[in-house]
Symmetry: C2
Amino acid sequence: MPELRKDYVTDTWVVISPARSKRPGDFRIRSTPTDPEKCPFCYGHEHMTPPELLAYRREGPPNSPGWWIRCVPNKFPALTSEGEVHRRVNQLFHSVSGVGAHEIIVEAPEHDGHLANFSDFQVQEVITAYKQRYLDLIRDKRFKYILIFKNHGERAGASISHPHSQLIATPIVPRRIMEEVNAVHRFYETTGGSCLYCEIVETELEEGTRVVAENEAFLALSPYAARFPFETWILPKAHEMAFEDLADGERTPLARMTKDVLGRMHRLLDDPPFNYYIHTAPCDRKEMRYHWHLEITPRLTEIAGFERGTGFYINPVVPEDAAALLRGDVKVPSSVP
Amino acid sequence: MPELRKDYVTDTWVVISPARSKRPGDFRIRSTPTDPEKCPFCYGHEHMTPPELLAYRREGPPNSPGWWIRCVPNKFPALTSEGEVHRRVNQLFHSVSGVGAHEIIVEAPEHDGHLANFSDFQVQEVITAYKQRYLDLIRDKRFKYILIFKNHGERAGASISHPHSQLIATPIVPRRIMEEVNAVHRFYETTGGSCLYCEIVETELEEGTRVVAENEAFLALSPYAARFPFETWILPKAHEMAFEDLADGERTPLARMTKDVLGRMHRLLDDPPFNYYIHTAPCDRKEMRYHWHLEITPRLTEIAGFERGTGFYINPVVPEDAAALLRGDVKVPSSVP
């Protein structure tokens, strides 16, 4: 059974997940583009995945073709759905049982599709599926956090190229989320009631230099301290605590903004590998303050010893240049002669 | 000029280093093994690097062949050595000027060498060079931290294959270091005077299952919450605050332990890409408590959206299995049928 373990020293948690283990010789990273004939996410291969949890289809029985969105448990889950959550503290050793959920959202039947080229309707349906799976899982009181994320491209950790997203529910609130939640609470206290993310939205709209795109409900920006070249955040302009509270009328603007930003990256950076993930409030909403957003991080540079050793990042692209390039204002970064 | 910027929300700092910038099309990761004919770290190519800061050679003028260790400024530094350190806080925008040092330690003249296969003497000399450059730079009061690290293999961020290490001095203490320092201080207070890392050494020697190797002065272990498959830490068994206080008599045991662990990884994992870095105390030693160590992290799995989104890691190899495999006790992980 998987186990969550805490570092002896810092608040870093690790999922030790031996179910995913392989022989030592198999640990090397390899390039293995998925053959559509063997792709578990293509029509007619529904038996290659565990039975579906959710599917959008006009007709036909479950686990058969005809769907346009399909959600299934991950066949090689990092966490297990069975059992209770036990916490142990024994000398230096802190652990929590590896109970959680690990699901796949297949975004379309087309093996070679890309979100940036989907119809608005299809991206909206992906967002609807995210929300629907989220609302189902949040009822399970063992789960403290639910992360929806996407890995695109082998360099970004995608082992299957067919377009899909993932969802992992964890029995503790992850460190990065707690840091953000704590910062939002501190800002609220020190300003007498303002939201830090609302302040980011307003300040960046005033400044303008880091704005990538904007529509009636969402802002896309290059964050001031972008960790990665062309890192882009999409935030709701209105104060909204949680993604899963997304109103029906916001689905179209969110789908269009996501497609727009991914399309700009696709054109400018030649279909880069990327990760994105939704930061929403933790499952326990009591006295919670937060402002959900989506972070997109292309994978153009390697994280090396300096980053691992310090927790610092080195970004060779000035965020203001990245925003100008993504907006299409300039052709090359201003810092390049 | 490079600039350090702090995330709006968390304590994550980023070095925005446009001097390293390239055109957008150049950002894709590519495989470029260095041709020895064009390698700036090979004999006869000394003019291809900035003038040397330190070299161990029997005879001959600086910047000529005949050395066995050579230290030079990085030709494409992430931080600049000129100027004063200015801090600015303007609304949500916190910055520190990008003043620092970025140096290369060429570990041997042999283009295809590997630390694991060097003589004990040569590895000792690498360690001596680390210490000598450290002691020179710590006199510069602009620097708050000095990280010595190594990237081996393209997947680990090495752009030149000739064996070399790097050193980066930063004008603020990195987040990961402060987390460790704070934890050591807290442990000292709550236990009435014990060192957390000494406790790790003693506990893991008693437990035994995560010990990889041991000699008269050093312990190598698979940490309980290893973030990466086969992650290994080397710690001095005696309480020693800082790497740069390393006694002459400790250089041979440290060289042998480093070679031993890297050699085990080389054989078991077929010359894996890896990063290592030395965690030592911050430059300002006033009332400082710490216990230096070296962390080696092979690069066998990709960090993907879940890790980026949460700060959690997923490790498919149980640390006790990794230790047994590195010790040579078993041939395949016990978790594999």
